[in-house]
Symmetry: C2
Subunit: 177 residues, 2 copies
DNA sequence: TGTACATCAGTGAACGCGCGTTCACTGATGTAC
DNA sequence: TGTACATCAGTGAACGCGCGTTCACTGATGTAC
């Protein structure tokens, strides 16, 4: 085990973030959700395996934290693009999916069996950005969302498919408005 | 190991199908792709683990076979619905995704890094059914496909989201034509 | 028709490995007096 | 200011487990003569 300067008192929580960093790095490098193992994450974070237990009760909680952070990042991306209008938000959405393909896939690919009405807060926030850009029309925002998601995830899954170029795609998607 | 009547001579290939059955059953019951382990599949198929090697070189090849079969089933579903026209095909697509959620997710969620132009034959066949129903218009078929996939996969992933009902959704999706 | 034999489908034991988790612990950091 | 001590972040060794894979094998099935 390599040297690691340990956190000062009261800053133990910092390791929590480093663990999520480590898990995210593993996911994005290997492309595989099951490569996120407790021991692997510990190695990546330069920490002994049992140290994780101070911050997460099990492996699953680490993955959930990775997903929550990814949704937060997506929301931030969309927020930044909001002033550019609906098309800019859609561009930002597609950029996010293209640049962080594995985080995107895990975040939207897992089946979130949450109790009715309880969608994750971060995900809801991101969707609300879309609704706002659609002048509050949820129906339109939903249609655009499913098209964006369908395009983003299929383009990542089947790159060999002869996809239309992105501007044409976006124009067609937005024609639904 | 429980009793198992072994296949007659020349029918050894039958076990291959039983292995894919077993792997598919595990996937659909657990909902987890990594629950498809070589030993687990062997147990489910009532066979000793090394018996698998006569038919598959490794675990990955089993998963690939599960995916290939799923695409074949999807194609068959769409073919059956074809005479009912475009809307019927879309209904069949959504039914398939709703009834076999985990197969659908694994089939379309994996990143198929195939050499350019080499999309899986089964997947291509299914897409062609959609193109045919769109009077040969690939652009339209592509748009409908991404909407169907977006809806199917997001509805499975986030069931708590207030989705419009399916007929309304389909009508909106098909309005793109 | 009988029998020796090759083939073929599948087995059982064994291996080394990485995993999640537990346990008793260490030693630096800050605090009370 | 010095020092004893509690707290807190993190460690190292050990466990049992299921995994993928290998190996030499078994015994039923079909075939040649």
């Amino acid at each position: 085990m390599q040297q690691r300067r340990r956190n000062a008192r009261g800053e133990g929580a910092r390791l929590r973030d480093e663990i999520i960093d480590a898990a995210t790095a593993i996911l994005e490098e290997t492309g595989s959700e099951d490569a996120i193992t407790l021991r692997g994450v510990a190695r990546q974070a330069n920490v002994a395996a049992p140290s994780i237990y101070a911050h997460f009760t099990d492996r699953e909680e680490i993955v959930a934290a990775v997903v929550a952070r990814a949704f937060g990042e997506l929301d931030a991306s969309l927020a930044e693009a909001a002033e550019g209008g609906l098309r800019a938000i859609c561009e930002a959405y597609l950029d996010f999916a293209a640049e962080r393909p594995h985080r995107y896939r895990v975040a939207f690919g897992r089946h979130h069996n949450l109790p009715a009405g309880e969608v994750s807060a971060e995900g809801q926030a991101a969707f609300t950005r879309l609704v706002d850009a659609c002048a509050g029309n949820r129906q339109t925002a939903t249609l655009i969302w499913i098209s964006l998601h369908g395009y983003a995830s299929l383009a990542a899954a089947v790159p060999a498919f002869p996809w239309p170029d992105r501007p044409a795609m976006l124009t067609a998607i937005l024609a639904q408005t």
